[in-house]
């Protein structure tokens, strides 16, 4: 091989210029310094050189080898450093955003309540939202012209069809579809034609109904107290029951819970009125039942300290995303 040793340095510089990987550099290193490398071959040609020139050539060759080794080592350093820079983790990079979804607080509360009552054997039973007079009123002992209808500003489609004003309308459906004994929970949307900062024309309720041969008011009290303790995750929470009036329960009660030193009404309940049982072909002499109904928005407002009812249906992302970390199943 006839390579002029002075050109060898330029050749190497050219090679190094195009090289950026450690692997390629290793190959360059062996090309020059390896067993069959240019420098090694030049050294082995020393013996063919006339003795008077051999010494000068030898020392020139040595300095060449040093230059070449240094150039290659420098290149190794360059590559290593550049690799360090490209591989360094830049903490200033914003986290790749994983879009979290969120359950609506109303759904979270419904699920939480369903979960609590499922431990007592209550099963979800959904009824229609578009109801007849019969299921929404008459079957529940609310006669036409009854002053109790004042509490129900009803949306009508025609004289018989309406939007249910309470989930109590599911009571008769549930008793007709399942025979006694039964334990059902009926969550859903209800409607009253009423709209102001504290009333929404659509809101959510959950109705609970338990019919069996030995259900009493003392069971009702126990069940609802236990529910409140579980829902608000505190056994210290104070509750009270006081007489109220619903045509479909007798006795009827309202349950209050103490918040910040004040009694707050949270649900209505009572023992199923015998007329209601009769309307569902259940013998009130054999069976008795307990029923309760509560407003989901009220519970959501208490659970998440929401002050304005309207935010529930505006679906503002700034509101919805606050429930990202909540799961209720």
């Amino acid at each position: 091989m006839k390579i002029n040793h002075t050109d060898l340095e330029d050749l190497l510089k050219q090679d190094l210029e195009t090289c950026s990987k450690e692997h390629d550099l290793q190959q360059i290193k062996s090309k020059y310094l390896g067993k069959k490398g240019h420098v090694t071959i030049l050294f082995s040609s020393l013996k063919d050189i006339p003795s008077e020139e051999r010494k000068a050539f030898g020392s020139e060759l040595n300095s060449l080898k040093q230059v070449i080794t240094k150039l290659i080592d420098l290149k190794f350093g360059d590559i290593k450093r550049s690799r360090e820079i490209t591989q360094r983790l830049d903490l200033d990079t914003p986290a790749r955003h994983h879009q979290f979804g969120s359950h609506h607080p109303i759904s979270l509360v419904i699920r939480r309540i369903e979960k609590i009552f499922s431990n007592f054997g209550f099963e979800t039973h959904e009824g229609p939202e578009i109801e007849t007079e019969y299921y929404n009123f008459e079957s529940l002992n609310i006669a036409d012209n009854h002053p109790a209808r004042d509490m129900h500003d009803t949306f009508y489609f025609d004289s018989n069809l309406l939007l249910r004003t309470h989930t109590s309308s599911v009571q008769i459906h549930a008793m007709e579809n399942r025979s006694a004994p039964l334990r059902v929970l009926a969550p859903g949307r209800v409607y009253r034609c009423d709209s102001d900062p504290t009333h929404s024309p659509m809101f959510h309720q959950i109705e609970g109904l338990c019919v069996d041969t030995d259900i009493s008011f003392s069971n009702l009290k126990w069940l609802l107290n236990d529910f409140i303790y579980k829902f608000f995750e505190s056994k210290k929470i104070k509750t009270r029951f006081r007489p109220s009036y619903f045509p479909f329960t007798e006795p009827s009660a309202e349950m209050d819970v103490m918040f910040n030193g004040k009694w707050l009404e949270v649900l209505g309940c009572g023992m199923v009125h015998p007329n209601v049982l009769k309307n569902a072909n259940i013998d009130p002499k054999k069976y008795s039942g307990l029923a309760f109904g509560l407003g989901i928005e009220r519970f959501a407002m208490l659970a998440y300290q929401i002050k304005d009812l309207r935010v529930f249906f505006e679906n503002d992302i700034n509101f919805l995303e606050q429930f990202e970390n909540l799961r209720e199943s």
Partner: protein, 659 residues
């Protein structure tokens, strides 16, 4: 109803510190108690069944039963009945079974109402008018019986309480004019001039004023249904109608007039006066009694109560025991059965004093599941809840359900899709500068084809704008068909897509059917730009809407053996028109069962600028080959690829781009 605490004290001794708690325990909900000089004003909210408590005396009577005390009615004049037919011609029994009247002649109404009356009325939010009206109101607030005073000289002939024989009009004492239809219960004179709607409101015509000389005081038991129908139909709620609707004591009519007479006679001189009575038998004014069922108390309350105690409580409340029967007092219109007695006894004992007992445990086996909702949350959807009524013009369904009495025009028909609500949410959030909007809602849609109503459970999602608004600009991209497809495939097991012809809310060209097990269950794609424009949304909206009731959750899995030998991946690139549906080709080929072919999928799609005009694109397919029993050699691979490419060319007539 507001009532002065001092007024109650005239009947029963009170402790202002415990009164709120006592009334609450009795079921008389106290809204507020506010101090007023040396008095307290108690604002009580009554449930519709407690008509007996709508007076100072009524509230005191309930408190007395609770405190085991007796109270007395206030003093009243006594007089004997007379039959005087100078004033009343006819009283219809189906409007009014008990009618009493008291004519007061040659009176001079110069006296002002006494202070003790006006002060109490003001505390109950009743504005004093003149001595006659004020005493009438006073007695109503005192004992619960509404009365009405007519100016006799304004009446033509006699009064009749009957159903109107023709359409009439009158102006009420509230100065509003009412048009009364034929057949409506009215109090009219012989010239068909209306003087009152019975139990609801008097007419301006015969209203008592300072010049009135002759007065006819009326005290009646109007049937609750009659009064209720009138007050709801004509939207008039008065203190009088409020009481009659709930039922007044049917034995109190005479007393009220006697009480008025006594008070009035101390302030103005009243000449000779008598009290007249018209009475009919009616189920509602008949003494109610039923067999006493002591056992029910234990069954309903779950506790043992002593019979003596139960009877003592009920006696205090005015119930009378006669052999095995219990007789209901005339003021407890609401009590009709032993169940009502159970409530009576428990409220006197106090609901809070009834012990609790655990409900027998039972575990529910069929809990409602929220599979799809949970999957959507994982995919980044935020759940929205919208009103289920929408503006009429958003619903394009002919079978729409329209409300007779909507709360506003933009909430007048039941939604036939969840999309309008979600579009409104996009608009709302876009206006608040949100660049990435991903929402879903589950709920019902309502349709009424051919008189039958369907409530369909629906799941709808919308995607708008950036996939994520907080990534580096270099990493940002908009939601696309790939996101939409991925979401549906992740949520619905065994789902696939097919061409759609567009629908109410979805674009004609850019929308697809969603299939599950080859059955259409919904649609997805681009929302029509006209719909998005209705909501002033700037930009494209992707959406899916699925009929939840049609989704099958059964997802059977059959295990496939796993090969021990390596898989080989080969790519081929096709040039296809943008309108050729490759998805169906791929689906079919996956089912064709080519030897060694494990799967075939679209690996890449590339549209070069020069081919764009021809609507052409390059599609790279990745074919995976694998054998269950050996490592494939070149010949196996070439043969397989050969048969696949032949089909692509011949069967599906697609061009393969040579490398």
């Amino acid at each position: 109803m507001k009532i002065s605490s001092n007024w109650l004290s005239e009947f029963i001794s009170l402790n202002n510190k415990t009164i709120e708690q006592e009334l609450t325990q009795l079921g008389l909900e106290v809204d507020t108690i506010s101090k007023n000089k040396n008095d307290y004003i108690i604002d009580i909210e009554f449930t519709p069944n407690r008509g007996d408590c709508l007076s100072a005396y009524g509230i005191s009577r309930d408190l007395a039963a609770f405190k085991n005390k007796k109270i007395k009615l206030p003093q009243a004049s006594t007089f004997s009945h007379q039959r005087n037919n100078n004033y009343i011609r006819k009283v219809a029994p189906d409007i009014c079974p008990e009618y009493r009247f008291m004519p007061l002649c040659d009176v001079e109404l110069r006296a002002k109402s006494p202070k003790f009356i006006t002060e109490k009325l003001i505390k109950s939010d009743i504005t004093p008018v003149n001595i006659i009206v004020d005493i009438s109101n006073y007695v109503m607030m005192e004992v619960g019986q509404p009365t009405h005073a007519f100016d006799i000289d304004k009446i033509n002939g006699k009064l009749s309480i009957i159903k109107s024989k023709k359409d009439l009009t009158f102006i009420g004492i509230n100065n509003k004019q009412y048009n009364i239809n034929k057949g409506t219960p009215v109090i009219v004179d012989d010239d068909d001039v209306i003087h009152a709607l019975p139990g609801v409101i008097g007419s301006k015509e015969s209203m008592v004023d300072n010049d009135t000389k002759n007065i006819l005081f009326e005290s009646a038991f109007f049937l609750p249904n009659t009064v209720r129908s009138l007050s709801t139909k004509y939207r008039i709620q008065t203190d009088s109608s409020y009481r009659f609707e709930r039922g007044v004591d049917y034995k109190l009519q005479e007393f009220a007039l006697s009480r008025i007479h006594l008070i009035l006679s101390s302030y103005i001189s009243i000449g000779k006066c008598n009290l007249n009575k018209i009475s009919y038998k009616s189920p509602l004014t008949k003494t109610n009694s039923f067999k006493f069922d002591y056992k029910l108390f234990k069954r309903i309350l779950g506790i043992e109560l002593q019979s003596n105690k139960v009877k003592a409580i009920l006696s205090n409340l005015g119930f009378i025991f006669k052999s095995d029967k219990v007789i209901v007092p005339s003021f407890r219109f609401d009590v009709t059965s032993n169940y009502d007695l159970v409530e009576e006894v428990s409220r006197i004992i106090g609901y809070d004093n009834i012990p609790e007992s655990p409900l027998s445990t039972k575990i529910s086996l069929t809990n409602k599941r929220y599979t799809f909702q949970d999957r959507l949350i994982t995919l980044g959807y935020k759940e929205a809840i919208n009103f289920t009524f929408i503006a009429k013009n958003y619903s394009h369904n002919i079978a729409q359900l329209e409300l007779k009495n909507p709360i506003s025009k933009d909430k007048s028909v039941m939604r036939d899709s969840l999309i309008p609500g979600l579009l409104k949410n996009i608009q709302y959030n876009q206006n608040r500068k949100h660049k990435s909007i991903q929402l879903y809602e589950t709920g019902k849609i309502y349709i009424k084809p051919k008189n039958k109503i369907f409530e369909i459970n629906t799941i709808t999602g919308v995607l708008f704008g950036l996939r994520s608004s907080s990534d580096l600009v270099s990493n940002q991209y908009n939601f696309g068909i790939d996101d939409l497809k991925s979401h549906i495939l992740s949520v619905i097991p065994n789902s696939s897509f097919d061409l759609n012809s567009g629908s109410t809310y979805f674009d004609d060209v850019n929308s697809f059917k969603i299939l599950q097990n080859n059955k259409a269950i919904g649609e997805c794609g681009l929302i029509r730009s006209t719909c998005a424009q209705d909501f002033a949304i700037k930009g494209a909206v992707l959406a899916f809407e699925i009929n939840e009731d049609l989704i099958s959750e059964s997802n059977k899995v059959t295990f496939n053996d796993i090969s021990q030998y390596p898989a080989v991946y080969k790519d081929i690139t096709l040039i296809t028109n943008i309108d050729d549906s490759l998805s169906t080709v791929i689906k079919e080929m996956n089912n064709n069962g080519y030897k060694y072919m494990k799967s075939i999928r679209i690996k890449d799609i590339f549209i070069s600028k020069d081919k764009l005009q021809l609507n052409n694109r390059n599609v790279t397919l990745e074919i995976c080959l694998q054998s269950m029993d050996r490592t494939l050699n070149d010949e196996d691979i070439n043969k397989s690829i050969q048969s696949i490419t032949t089909d692509i060319k011949k069967l599906y007539k697609l061009n393969i781009q040579e490398a």
